[in-house]
Subunit: 467 residues, 4 copies
């Protein structure tokens, strides 16, 4: 999310690589040490649609941070888009990835401390919480103390990056390390620059050498002359989000020293063990995330992999008539059936996960209509039975298809012949990490849950009032 030297354009190119993490809004904040100015540009929609060459003439400076918004809380107005910046405390800009689950409590404290809150964004809250804890911005220790103040007040999840006007760039990752955050280094013409990003794919594209993940509870500060400072503020139990491995992160990325592509292949080979009894003609994937696992399943089972559904890659957010009311219409225009691979065939259909189940039900219907003889559905994620308060936008329980239902009930609802879910053990084995956050699969919450109820209520009412 950040680079030093020709910064805003690097950030922009980096955001293009991270677009899969959020398509709702985008923004870039740069800082120019010559004019001593912050320059901010936020917009709705895709990075590549909002930003054009002329916008960069106004985003000068050698420090910049950017953000793509994936809305989990709050109605999606531009005032809630990141980054944010404040004009007191010497000037601080910030963006983050995650969800502060005790946001209501902190907000009250900040207002008591004379801060005015102007949006529904968690990012504004973390920024002002940080500023509130910042007594002296003149020293690196002063900055790290303010990060400690954030850790002490704000419940995870948050991976944050901040511009300290005239000083440098600060990054920190919550004490549980729920959301990812990596950084890399590049030396050009003898000058060093650093970049922080949610995923390595953005660093690779910009020619940065990946250094390592920012550690849970760690704060890193890079000053204007590229001196690197780090402090391990807390050392808590790591609780990396399991859904990053199953769906969210790019297969080209690497996290916690593991290649995502390998993890997804292992998801396939693990679940293939449960599918040995099936007689099928082809394995097909619901594009695009599950293709890696589907290829791996096909290889393990010795059944040919075919493209049975192809995504129309031009549709994006195009207007589709009746798309709101009749989701079927939507799915039909976005996914084309490859008839010769479906008609009269027994299919193993692989998807990365099943949340509401709506899309899969429509896809099953499309395959049946195209003449599929048998449909054996496979989800490389175990049943999702609880909402997430730590950064993933799952719906309320009653909209989750797996909530309080047996697999056979879900199978019937999907209208498929068999349905096979990943097991929890196989998931951990495939990822190779034991201490994942699996709250959405019915596991333990990764943080204290004292304020979750208030948070859940707030979110519910916002969803109802939202558009």
């Amino acid at each position: 999310m950040i680079g030093i030297k020709e910064a805003s354009i690097d950030v922009y190119h980096g955001l293009l690589a991270l677009q899969h993490r959020g398509q709702d809004a985008c923004g870039i904040l740069s800082f120019d040490k010559i004019s001593n100015g912050f320059y901010l540009d936020k917009g709705h929609g895709l990075v590549g649609n909002h930003f054009s060459e002329d916008r960069f003439s106004k985003l000068s400076g050698d420090i910049a941070i950017g953000h793509v918004r994936y809305p989990t809380v709050g109605i999606c107005s531009i005032r809630d888009a990141q980054p944010f910046f404040i004009e007191s405390k010497g000037g601080i800009g910030m963006a983050h990835n995650g969800n502060v689950s005790n946001v209501c409590e902190i907000k009250e404290k900040l207002v008591r401390n004379n801060w005015y809150i102007n949006s529904n964004s968690d990012s504004e809250i973390i920024l002002k919480c940080f500023a509130d804890g910042l007594s002296h911005c003149g020293t690196v220790q002063g900055l790290f103390d303010a990060v400690k103040y954030v850790f002490d007040n704000a419940y995870p999840s948050y991976s944050s990056i901040a511009i300290i006007a005239g000083k440098g760039l600060l990054a920190f990752r919550d004490t549980r390390g729920i959301r990812p955050l990596v950084f890399g280094k590049k030396i050009t013409d003898g000058k060093t620059s650093y970049a922080f990003s949610s995923e390595t794919v953005a660093l690779n594209n910009l020619g940065y050498e990946v250094e390592r993940d920012v550690r849970p509870g760690e704060a890193i500060f890079v000053d204007m002359t590229a001196n690197f400072h780090s402090q391990q503020i807390y050392d808590d139990e790591h609780k990396h989000c399991m859904f990053e491995w199953v769906y969210f992160a790019r297969p080209e990325s690497e996290m916690e020293k593991r290649h995502l592509y390998h993890v997804r292949e292992r998801l396939g080979s693990e679940i293939a063990k449960e599918l040995k009894h099936l007689k099928a003609d082809y394995v097909i994937a619901v594009p695009d995330t599950s293709r890696t696992a589907a290829l791996s399943i096909a290889g393990s089972l010795g059944i040919p992999y075919k493209e049975g559904l192809i995504k129309n890659r031009y549709i994006g957010r195009s207007f589709i008539m009746n798309c709101q009311n009749q989701r079927e219409n939507c799915v039909k225009l976005k996914l084309n059936v490859v008839h010769p691979n479906v008609k009269g065939k027994r299919l193993i259909v692989v998807d990365d996960s099943i949340v509401r189940g709506t899309t899969l039900r429509i896809i099953a219907g499309m395959l049946r209509q195209a003449g599929a003889e048998e449909i054996h559905m496979v989800s490389t994620c175990p049943p999702i039975v609880a909402p997430c308060f730590w950064g993933v936008d799952f719906p309320e329980k009653d909209e989750l298809v797996a909530y309080e239902k047996s697999v056979s009930q879900i199978r019937d609802e999907m209208g498929v012949d068999t349905l096979t879910y990943m097991t929890m053990e196989a998931l951990k084995k495939a990822v190779g990490i034991d201490d994942l956050c699996i709250a959405c699969l019915g596991g333990k919450a990764p943080t204290c849950t004292k304020h979750i109820a208030a948070f859940a209520n707030m979110r519910k009412s916002e969803r109802n009032s939202g558009v």
Copy 2:
């Protein structure tokens, strides 16, 4: 490209499915029999970006035609975008796919006959040529006679659809059938409607039953009450464009009674015969077109297929810094390397075709940089050695990498270890049609070439003056 009943929205949804055929400009023309009005809306760029819900309120009527522009001739201004319509001869609107190769000659004739020509579009020429040949629009035979006049004056390629104001919809395909044109039928609540399209994928998405290809030299007229009229005006030798099979058409489509997916698989299995000697770890595809063939090659050779390059599906036409000068930058941001599938591996890399070779050279460099040990490049299309004057935008000879070069020269230029091209015989076998247009592969021109030189000059000068 056309539907009857709620027409413009159907056409729009159809254009979304045909977007791969042209991303430069788009347009929809509707005709409303109640107001007796033509309604036209053209725009730059993608269908889904240009059209929004409110635009359709102005595109009323139960006949509509649409177009996505893939520029082969002419500077890309909106005045050259299709469809076109004229206000004499009772009102006629038209769009087409293809290139009229004797356009200069017809233009002169039209001006002599008192027609004013207002664009650089072939479509305007075909439209006015049709109008020039139309003496009585009151009868179906009058329309067919005007189509004959077009056939007699305009050299292929063109697959055209026209709205005859107040009368109905007319479609015709040039006598050599170079460009595809299919049609389908739908019966809703007892009412019949017809739709014509370059590919079946658009008909499938809209719920039309595919009837058949429009035959080369055939004209079809559907009147306002959905009566169907057809006339085989000429019966010439069919010369279907080979590049449609190799690259252009969607794998989900069906043409001339063949599934594209099957043809592409056969392209893979045919070329695999030439690759048996290779020792490789993985087969990878240059996404997206060549994936089908790559999977088939992997299967034939018993070598695992892996995703080695992944396309960033959000980038589209986003601004990329230095993209004009340093194409490398562009390719690097659009394609991500999946490092674990490349590093230290011997790769068979499959692409559908090699035109200029620029992209492939960059990709080879990226794979080497990512640690690929061997790169064995495969093109499922034979060497392209001549430009196309019949609808495909290949560059001049001297920009074609294969022009007057041996395979080993090209291989060295690409910087790969081996390079294998499809043979002409294998191509014909894979497609299953003997009489393809293979002019770009060094074969015979599909039309008289008397005016090609003039046409080539005009196009050259336009390319030089263009932006």
Copy 3:
């Protein structure tokens, strides 16, 4: 409306000077003899808002015509904005000022003759009628014969200018000369150019010497080398619109050899004769048109002229809350009262004319509220009692405040102390022309009225369905 050499920019500057004649839409059509291309750009609203520097790069050529739309018939869509052009008959573009009162009849004839009509604009009708009558565009006489065909088929009013592609510029004024049309000449560096315009103010601004009015029933053609041809096709009774003198034309203009400023002064001095009995402190004007007459009245009566109402010249078409429902709000924000000139004063308030009476009633209320002691209203136009079918957008009879009411009734409705209207005789004396068209004042229609009823009905239904 038209200039030769650097034409579109001259036309644009000319339209700025004619903006008072229509603020609804605007358009410029240029013809470039080098590319042989027509270039058209139409937009909603003001000329200066729609056109910007970059638009002119696309409006090349040394012939151009332009138009500002004042809607009298038809719903105001862009497709109805002028100019229009057609692509048959060698290419012809046209704009006009006026109203063809037998438009329905001509439309039928044109459709019979195989013309497709695509808008609700009279201009399209005149253009196609002209094209229909044009058998040979190669000679000047052929063009004049086609003008005669228009005169024979289309009832006045229309003052038209046309571009004949590759040939030159044609102007003609209907046989009654209801709407104005003048032309001027400029010699720059030995090269002659001509410009036609509704008013002299545009010619003055562009440095053209005013030559004369185009005569009723006359056609003028200027070819590409600036040769001038004229023909008096018909020589009918002249019926110049009286409202041009009273309100429409700029006081800076000159028409039929009379200065508008002088005419308006005489309107003041004539009506002052009726006001001698009044005891008043100040004469004030309802800005801006009536200021000239008000100054003249003040001079004649020996009563001081003061600015009592000042127009906010920035408001234009700005959004004003509740402006639709509560016209009062609107008027109050657009006109400011100068309190010291109103409070406790006996006022003679001069306006150019009274149509609906709504605005005047609100103004009277504002003046009363500001403390005016007496309000003596003066209209320099006689009572308007009938709609106009020849180019002025008066409402239907029942919305005209003077229709079937006595002056004392109107006075009471306005809420003023006295109300004095211009007499018919004084009006003619002030203008200095006897044969004015005074149909709206209850006089004889200037054309045959056979088709007026049909026209009135069509307009009524359009008004009802309009937005």
Copy 4:
């Protein structure tokens, strides 16, 4: 500039009335006590062009302030447009009219006190200076103390209005009262609301009763329940800007208990005393400001007043070809000559003031070309010989036509027959105030001038770098 209840729309309507005070940029800031949110919308250009109905849905709340920008310092980017707001100190928004002449000095102090400065706007400086001085925002006295801190640190001129989030509205006028500031009161349905504005014309239009001018050195606070608090913080010598009376303020307004219309009439009758010797046919005004004085001169001299130049009220900021290089072109299109009132006439031409003299020279040329026999120029303002650092955008000395020149030199440069300037004594007599700020006429500066040189340098360099 501010209203309570339906606030942003009232502010918008008020800004429409104040548009003459600045056309460069505009902005509205509202505060909604229900959401506790600030809502800000700034744009380039005219209020009525930028704001449209839908923008108001996002400007909710019952407090709002607005601003129209007349740039005196700083390059005109949107980031410099007012109002501004900050998110610390409980949230404060502010707009002002004027120029802080020791801005560089205060900026340094603010940065030392850990404020980040993000624009070139004085308004941001006053706001942060106020925030810096605000130790307790809980009490009214705390607010007034912070105003005193501003008075102690920032040199005039500034008339400021501020929203204190959740508390109310604060207005204060610098200790010299250089720029105007008035307020009014309205009682609707038993509820009281207050509005502050630079001029009474905005209050009148919105139905507020004018209460009085805010006094120099006074601070006024209106809380959320419309309780009114005032404190006279300093009581210095009043130095009202003379140019407000001569040019800036609307003739419909009232300032310091004087009607502007009366003052302008007296400017005319005073200067008429110097013109008695002239033999002239007509008095004409350079529209629009000088019309009042011109009418008064005509009356005093017994010479008829005529409209000799008429402003095209549609042109505004329309694109005009060559307007940058050839100012003549511009003036010619913006002002039309009324030929019969000029040709062969001896004219007294009245303008409010002469700054650069460029426009007047062009006007004189236009009048000569139109045949004026004699031109007697009159300026109702004495010679302007010095730039202004207190809120009026006069150019540097060497661009002022009157700088170090005699009246006869200026007369010759203008190309007029005689030139008469207002005298200083007559000016004071006409305004009726002795203690005006007349620094631009060569009088004493209204503030300490210690920092003026630094300020002048900064402005000069900005002007040179500006576009």
